[in-house]
């Protein structure tokens, strides 16, 4: 029955103003309206359909992506979209494409590392897409360790050119999105060598393809690196491989804001502070945290709605079976993910303000908070992407067998999301960076240096090392002060414990190396504390609509207490809480899940996602899942004929005993 809302009964039980929550989630009324408008624009345009994605072969899929990008470009102009609107539109098109790298990496690299003159020359071309660029950093044999890159850029004073070269197979550029088939230009990272000396990694603008016929220029070998995880996912992107055979570029295509090479081949550093580059890193990671909250909210929206539709067991007297959303084991897995989506949303919002703060300080040559901001964003990038990747797969499992169908949207969401755990810093490598910063902070506590920002709590070390948690009843765990103190005490105690163990090693480096698994755990504890803190602050600040604050309170408590339960070992082994208090956490969680239950569907409605964006037959707004699943099935190419291709050659001979010499 078209038009019937099969989830109306769920929506009726909500105890808060969903429209007000939508504003909270979006960040502002302006953001909500903007997203809403752009989401609908994309959803209503047949060129942007997504439901056939997993049925296309690689070439069809890729061609379709080129088509979408061109169509979007056209629409952006026709509708005279602002930069903000165009960005949102690209976001809702929801398919990895070369434009992501052009706008997200190529243009910012020139802006950040190019001189004014270089910007004047290259940016107008890029803005009009007269050239399309990508960001060629990683190599076949080199990922996280940028200093290990092998590509060389050797200055030739005779011709005033750099010679870009790939000296080994492992120096082949490998992975850059947009490189394989589309980009005409790239910012290429290579070792700058002049006068026989290696000055380390620098960025160069290199043209890769002819602007006449798109063929690769002489000396350039370029192609796609092949099929990736999932049947759609990142296969719409031409992640590329690139080799240089002594390719010459003019000297002025070295990005020269930070350092230059003179006509004579002399290497000169400018007086622009290197720390500016960290600002970019803070910016990029902040967007990754925002993406995490979107991906996790999307997955939990699908799982929540379908869990309200799907029924299993518990039928009495021939009545309907129980909605799986009523099962405690389902709530226990799903509700913390909804809570995490909200938590990541708010910590992402805060990170955005942190970026603004950092930028302002950088402009004033104040680098005092930079290390802390860098550690904080590294840690939050790691934490939120890891939880989101696992959370999407958990949501898929929560949908039972049907979650395994591509039409559920969850396989593609997982496949397209998981690279976030690896790109822009491998998650474990990032946690080790956080741990290093924590160790440094701990060691400086005795010197009287005050810890700043998200490490400020460590200044309270004396209290935190010996405080005792005052929780006596399950309801005491609703006290944000008790939660905050427990997370702070656990984090500081783990950090101090690590510092003590590291100091026992023959050297700091050896200690750090051998204890790295413990250090990672301490870093996670610190990052979880940040998210909990920002969620508590968010709840305390806002009171924006009927019942909204109460719901945020429940979500915040679920987020924190579920973590506490999951990491109970940390809290107990550091003596932060007692076993009895740990048991009260479970009790309180049960009660919180019951409070959330009537609001579950409304809380995911508040994400305001269109069915187009969700891209899931299970997550449909109207809950009318089964007819949609059934209809979608028949669209599979295998169903084009009743009798499958290959019947005559490979099935009939078997059935008709034409495959002889039998013994079985």
């Amino acid at each position: 029955m078209e038009g019937v809302d099969h989830l109306a009964h769920e929506r009726k039980t909500a105890q808060f103003d969903v429209e007000a929550m939508k504003v909270v989630w979006a960040g502002s009324k302006h953001e909500l309206d903007l997203s809403d408008r752009m989401a609908r624009l994309v959803a209503s345009d047949p060129v942007f359909r997504k439901d056939n994605r997993t049925m296309l072969d690689r070439k069809e899929l890729f061609k379709n992506t080129l088509k979408k990008a061109a169509h979007a470009w056209k629409r952006m102009h026709e509708l005279r979209l602002t930069e903000e609107e165009a960005g949102k539109m690209r976001f809702f098109i929801d398919e990895p494409a070369y434009v992501d790298l052009h706008w997200g990496m190529f243009v910012p690299a020139i802006k950040g590392q190019g001189t004014e003159e270089q910007q004047k020359k290259w940016l107008p071309l890029a803005y009009k897409m007269q050239i399309i660029g990508c960001y060629a950093q990683t190599e076949l044999g080199h990922g996280s360790n940028v200093q290990g890159l092998e590509t060389t850029a050797t200055f030739d004073p005779n011709t005033d050119e750099f010679i870009i070269h790939s000296p080994t197979l492992t120096s082949s550029k490998w992975w850059p999105g947009g490189l394989g088939k589309v980009s005409t230009h790239a910012v290429v990272y290579a070792r700058l060598i002049t006068d026989g000396k290696d000055y380390g990694i620098h960025g160069f603008i290199v043209q890769l393809r002819s602007l006449d016929d798109h063929s690769p220029l002489p000396g350039i070998t370029v192609g796609d690196i092949g099929d990736k995880f999932g049947s759609g996912a990142y296969n719409s992107m031409d992640n590329g491989v690139l080799r240089f055979d002594h390719v010459r570029i003019p000297r002025d295509q070295l990005l020269m804001r930070l350092s230059q090479v003179t006509r004579e081949g002399k290497y000169v550093q400018s007086d622009v502070p290197r720390q500016l580059l960290y600002g970019t890193m803070v910016f990029v990671r902040q967007t990754i945290v925002a993406d995490a909250s979107r991906a996790l909210s999307r997955a939990s929206c699908i799982a929540t709605r379908y869990s309200a539709v799907r029924r299993q067991f518990g039928a009495q007297d021939g009545g309907p079976e129980t909605a799986v959303l009523d099962y405690k084991t389902q709530q226990n897995r799903l509700f913390p993910l909804i809570a995490s989506a909200y938590a990541f949303r708010f910590v992402g919002e805060w990170l955005k303000s942190l970026y603004t703060d950092v930028t302002q300080r950088l402009q004033a040559n104040d680098f005092s908070t930079l290390a802390e901001a860098h550690a904080c964003t590294a840690g939050l990038k790691s934490l939120t992407t890891s939880v989101t990747a696992d959370g999407i797969e958990e949501c898929r499992k929560l949908c039972g067998g049907h979650g395994y169908l591509s039409s559920s949207g969850l396989p593609e969401l997982f496949a397209v999301y998981i690279p976030a755990c690896t790109y822009e810093g491998d998650n474990v490598v990032l946690l080790l960076q956080v741990a290093r910063f924590l160790m440094k902070t701990v060691s400086q506590l005795t010197t009287g240096k005050k810890p700043v920002g998200t490490t400020a709590y460590m200044g309270n070390i004396e209290h935190l090392m010996q405080c005792r948690c005052a929780v006596k009843t399950a309801d005491d765990w609703l006290n944000p002060y008790a939660i905050q103190e427990a997370f702070e005490a656990r984090a500081v105690r783990m950090a101090v414990n690590c510092a003590q163990n590291v100091s026992k090693a023959p050297s700091q480096e050896e200690g750090f190396f051998s204890l790295s698994a413990d250090l990672v755990e301490a870093a996670v504890a610190h990052c979880q504390l940040i998210v909990v803190t920002k969620f508590i602050e968010k709840v305390q600040r806002g009171n924006v609509g009927d019942g909204v604050k109460e719901q945020l309170q429940v979500l915040c408590n679920i987020y924190a207490l579920n973590l506490l339960h999951k990491h109970l070992g940390d809290f107990l082994v550091t003596g932060t809480i007692t076993p009895k208090q740990g048991a009260l956490v479970s009790e309180q969680l049960r009660s919180l899940y019951s409070k959330l239950r009537p609001n579950a569907v409304a809380l995911v409605d508040a994400f305001n996602y269109t069915d187009h964006y969700l891209g899931s037959v299970l997550g449909r707004y109207d809950g009318n899942v089964y007819p949609a699943l059934y209809e979608q099935a028949w669209k599979d190419p295998l169903n084009e004929s009743d009798v499958p291709d290959g019947y005559a050659e490979y099935l009939r001979p078997v059935l008709k005993q034409k495959v002889r010499l039998a013994r079985l």
Copy 2:
């Protein structure tokens, strides 16, 4: 350089006899030889190549699978393979196909539920593949809860037929493998209705397609349910949808071993004990545990070899970077997975003997151990498949960015494996069944009924409720008795704790419902104990080759202590160990990882997997990874031309400013 072993240095450091370990892993010399022979046979046959799988579209992939199945059938006859050999051959072909269901479900269903007469009629046809069958149980709206199935089989005494019918959309059969495009017949589960009374779910043999031209018979709507997770994976299987519109079948196609309907329409139960069906369940789940150890060993083999090849950071004086396998954070994630693969192999081996024991008892009408065996296999199926699914994805992450490429083999391994968490019992539903059995066992302890089999330790409840762990140094954690006791005490205390909380609820059912999250944790604790116990027993039994026992000891300790660390909260909250003892676990683990390190590559070599079976450029035996990655990339269809399809329509107009009305 072809033929060079890039991992030779790793193999030289092994401290044990790899050939002897291969026998331990395989189970016997006979098993090793058989697997080795069949693996090589498949690997050397070009029809069975797998490396192009992810590049085929759905129809090509499916047709290719039909071809492989027919070719295998031909080879089995030509080579006069035994049933055992043929099974191994199918296994090493390593691609989900209709034959899995024909041999694994259709034939066994007739064997198990058919009368002798029915077997005589149908089995010869099935054995010769004159008919091909599948197992049609689950429906669009009904998965785990078999009792909720809606398809009806109504007896018509006028014609002596059953009328098979799908009364609703949600009653459509949905998911059965081999159903969509291949099967000519199915065992269909439907509600048996005769004389107006519903006798519940029974199995019926139903012909679906014409044996002349393969077209669906009148009243039958059948097709494929569409694209699934991954680009190859289960898309080689025609999981199907099936609807019946009053399809008539002869009365004697009800599978009648357990119950019959007479000519007059009278429902009669036979005197064959229903418990026999549980025997089949024990068998099927035992094979799933064996599959888990194979999938996890495969993933960890790939990750281990590539971690020995891949280098990152830590270069000094221009020397090579450090192999990532040397990083403690890598060891800390990877080595417990190698240990788990071994653990699951041995618990699987033990389950096989349990199945033999159960079968013998059933034949002697001894049902005393059946409930325990059922709970045990349910729990182990859940535990091993969950850990394996997560473990494969963890191995993929451990391979960094390159793990995301299909050529790494890990995306497909994940996608093809994860249904194991859902089929044959959803993993959480199964754990709740285990918990129910544990609660019953606890409640019977006071009645003097002795717990049997894997619950026997509960008989020791008085000691286990109050014992104190004697560990004082990190090395004390090498004592198997200390480990075993800690796992037993934790399991029994969690179970008793749950039982007490359940008993406080208004009713047993309400208590069970509201505490189900805790019950699941208690069930996991019990299942982990079983695996730990069987591993310890295995180590203590065997001494089969130089250094083998020592390696198994290290693996066993890593398996147990890593679990202990991961679930530290359980052990502390139950007072099983102290925080101090918990910290000693971490210390001992660090030392165990160092012991395992020089043996890591040899321990995964002992799985004896061919490069064909592994299907991963990263997991190559010779470690010559980078040239293989590079070559594989160029085979992608996108690389057929330098300039991509769609350039003229969708890229050139953008670059040449033919998309006008610009403002951006």
